[in-house]
Structures are given as C-alpha cells and as structure tokens.
Amino acid sequence: MSDTHNWSPESLRRQFPILDRKVHGEPLHYLDNAATTFSPECVHEAMSRYENHYRSNVQRGVYQLGVESTEAYEEARNSAAKFLNATSADEIIFTSGTTFSVNLIAYCLSQSFKPGDEIVVSVAEHHSNFIPWQRLREQCGVEMKLIPVLANGSLDLSQLDTIITDRCRLVAVSHISNVTGSITDLKHITGLAHRQGALVFVDGAQATPHGPVDVQALNVDFYAFSGHKSYGPTGVGVLWGRRELLDALPPFLTGGGMIERVTAQTTRYLSGNRRFEAGTPPIAQVIGLGAALDWLMALPWQEIRDYEQKLSGRLLAGLLDIQGLRLLGEQAVTHRAPIFSFDIESCHSHDVCQILDDYGVALRGGHHCAQPLMDALGLVATSRASIAVFNNESDIDALLVALNKVLEVLR
C-alpha cells in the first residue's frame, strides 16, 4: 500500500516494475491505460499469496485454507463496497468485467420489459454498453432511444427531457467516455430519469481508474467497472446495485454457490448479490482487485488529480500545436478525464500508432469499440492517449516528439 504522506510520481512508478522494460530499445512510454492499466506490485503479491499459501475454493470448505480464501474474497468485497461508498458489501457482485455486468443487468431487467418500453443510451457508449441494449430491442420489442453528441463527441443533453419519457425504464450511460474523456453529468441524467420512474445504469470503467466513486452521491441504481482498467487483474469486475433492486432481479447464470435449496423439482435462490455469483468465481483475481482498490483508496487523490491535470495540460498544448489535428472532447483539462482521442488529417490512426511504437510509445488506434460515436463524428478511427497515475512528463514529451516523427514519415 502506498504511503500517502510521501507521495511522488517517482515513488509511485517504482511500484510498477513493468515500467523498467524497453520496447525496441527505447524506454516504455505506456499511454493506453484506458484499455488496460498496469498493476502495482501489491496486486501481484496478493494474488501470489493466494496461489502459494491458501489456494482453495470459497464459501465451501471448513478447513483452514478454505476459511482463509473466503475471508480474503469477502475482504475484497468490503474493499469494493468502500471504494464505491456502497451502503453494504451485500450490494457488490463480482463479475468478469464491465461487459459481463452490462449483459447481466440487460438480461435480468429484460425479464420485466415489455414492447413499448424505452431504454435510453448515448451514441458515445462503448459497444459493451450498447449492443446488449440493441439485443433487447430485437428480443423484447423495447425502443432504444439515443442521446446525441456534440461536434466534439461530448454528450448533447439539451433535449434530454424529451428523450427520457414516462415510458423510459432505463438509462444506460458511461460515467466517462472511453473515447473523448468527457465526464457525463450523471446528476442531471439521474434527476430526469428518476422523475420518470426509470432506473440508471452507469458504465464506470473509465472513471474508477481516476479515484474512488460515491454511488450514493451520484444517486444511480447500478454501477459497473473492470479490474484491468483500475490497476487490478484482468478477468474480474464489479457490479454494484441497490440492494432492493438486486433482490427483485431474477438470476442470470445458475449453478453452484447461488442457491438456498435445490430439490429434484425446483430451486430456491439466495437473495441479493449472492444470487449472481454462480459457480467458482475468479478468486485470485478478486483478491488482486481488492488489493488494487485498497491501493487506489490510499492515494492522495487531490494531489493525483492536480498531477494528472498538469500532465493533461502539457499533452493538450502539444497536441493542439499539431497542424491538422482534431481533438475530441473538452479542451479544458479541468472538465475532462485524461483520455485524449485525436485524428490527424491524412494520417490514419493505425499508421500513427504503428510508428509511435518504434519510439516505445504505446497508444491505441482504432474505433475504441465505439463505432456509433465514430459514425456520428464522421470518423473511422482515432489515436488515443490515456494517462494513468504512473505516467510522467517524460511519457508526454516522448509522445509529442514521436508524433512529429510520425508526421515526417506519413505526410
């Protein structure tokens, strides 16, 4: 766990041994954190401890190892509840990630949807928070209404009160866009949705890497995030839901670990979150995620945010200096997360990112699993730089220098 009193970018970087490696003989400048962040050593140690000292199943064994693994697993649930400021750990469901969480909620809610019901989703959603709702439209006859975007890709909420009607059952939006870095005005959306009796599901995958979230203050109904984008392991995520809502939902997957009693004729399910964790869960990953969330909660977030904004300002200034560069999202660093997607005239993002790799700079190029947004903006792909707490000025400068090399090659 980090020492909040002695925080510095360099002390933080020392907790990420992967940053020591080189790529093509160059120092690694990893700026694809919106896809996957690196994990600090404490996460690896927590998972290794489980594997080497008490590997066993959870919620089953009465022997010592089983008790220890169950305790560690439930401790991770407590960490997740604390990280999200949930009212109880009973509101936390461990899943394989945000995609699974959205599908879980879509399936479970659909059991009570009927033709004519409406779901509101934004054009800017990641496919994982878009396709499940499209499927419901096809399967249940619900109408899917879209929140449009402004020219910079941020949500256009100006007509929201006409989009969310009394037929709306659910609004599903991301907390922070994985493409534009724009921060969604959740309070505004939640206010309108709840007034019409609709629930609000939030894809928080890009928000949780930037500090703890308060689901009670946001007044949302469901919130999901992924471990691998939040300094934790891959293959694990968290779905939070209000307890009374979880109790009312039918199961998603069925099997061991989610039942009260099974007879030859019927099954009685556990209530609340336990109903949704069928089968042996990803125990090591959950324990690793718990360590990551503890680590995140121990960081001095005001200082970190100031630091991220400083890096963002440096990057923004450099990007906006490039002729023919179109930046998506807000231009003020105080009104956005440190995720920067850009399109350079006559330079395709895959070519840009390919050449950046020569200089050890790792950026994502492509549609970022947000093709409806790309279509709305008249783009097929963008290059995306996304900053994590371990990035430093050297990473930003390396990107900007390498971008100039890219332009020399491609233009």
Binding site: H24, H348, S349, H350, D351, Q354, I355, D357, D358, G365, G366, H367, Q371, M374, V380, A381, V409, L410
Partner: protein, 142 residues
C-alpha cells in the same frame, strides 16, 4: 519496428487513386470491415462471364489497406474469382512467412512491397482486406 512499412513506394501507391469511388450501374456491391480497426471498403463491381470488368471502391482505411486496395484495383480487371483467390492465397502465405516459388504472382509484382508487413501480424488484415472484399463480392466460379 515499422521500417519498410511506409516506404515511398507504399505511400505513392496508397495516394494513387486508381479506381473511381463508385460505378454508374454496379452488378455487385459489398461493404467489408476490418473488425480490429474499423477500416472499411465499399466495393462495387461490374462482371461479365464471371470476370471483373470494372471496379470502384470507397476506402476509409490505413495506408497499408489503401495501398493494397490500389494494387487490387490495378490488377483485378479481367480476372475471375479463382484467379483472385489464387493471388490471395499467395499473399496470405507470404504474410505468414511461408516461402513460395510463385511469389510475387505474375502481374501482381507490386504486392512484394508488402513483404515488411509479414513481421507485423496485427497489420496482415489491413493488407488482405481488399482481397476479402473482392472474394466476398464475387460469386463462386460455376
């Protein structure tokens, strides 16, 4: 390393607009996407007796895909599906690093420019997408 991927010849090939973007009365048309990156080709063809007589394509893609599409536009006219499939098989083999005495195929010599792409597995689909589009559009040879 990207050395060789963006040489002058590839850049010139990508920049050359060999085919029009659309045909007045296409016999066949298809859109294909590279799911990895979102590259897209809208392809239109005229055919006669199973052979390509005219080709148009609207390409929103990376430089490698554009260059490859222009090779296709230059060399596919007059060929049947079987002819094009044979070239596609040779191209895929080259990208996978398999040596062949038939490489580069006759009349498709500019495909040799893509040899450096063989080192970049994530980019193979960029080069093969124009062939995928053509093969999807053309009916099987009777």
């Amino acid at each position: 390393m990207s050395r060789g991927l963006y040489d002058g010849e590839i850049k010139a090939l990508a920049a050359s607009q060999i085919a029009p973007q659309s045909l007045p009365g296409p016999d066949l048309q298809i859109s294909v996407d590279n799911p990895f990156c979102g590259d897209r080709i809208d392809l239109q063809l005229n055919i006669e007796a199973g052979r390509v007589t005219a080709l148009a394509q609207d390409i929103r893609a990376c430089m490698l895909c554009q260059a490859s599409a222009n090779v296709v536009a230059k060399s596919a006219i007059g060929l049947s599906r079987d002819d094009i499939e044979a070239v596609s098989i040779e191209l895929t083999a080259m990208l996978k690093g398999n040596d062949s005495d038939c490489w580069p195929p006759v009349d498709w010599e500019s495909l040799a420019l893509f040899e450096p792409v063989s080192r970049h597995k994530s980019r193979h689909g960029c080069v093969t997408l124009p062939f995928t589009a053509l093969l999807k559009a053309l009916p099987d040879t009777p």
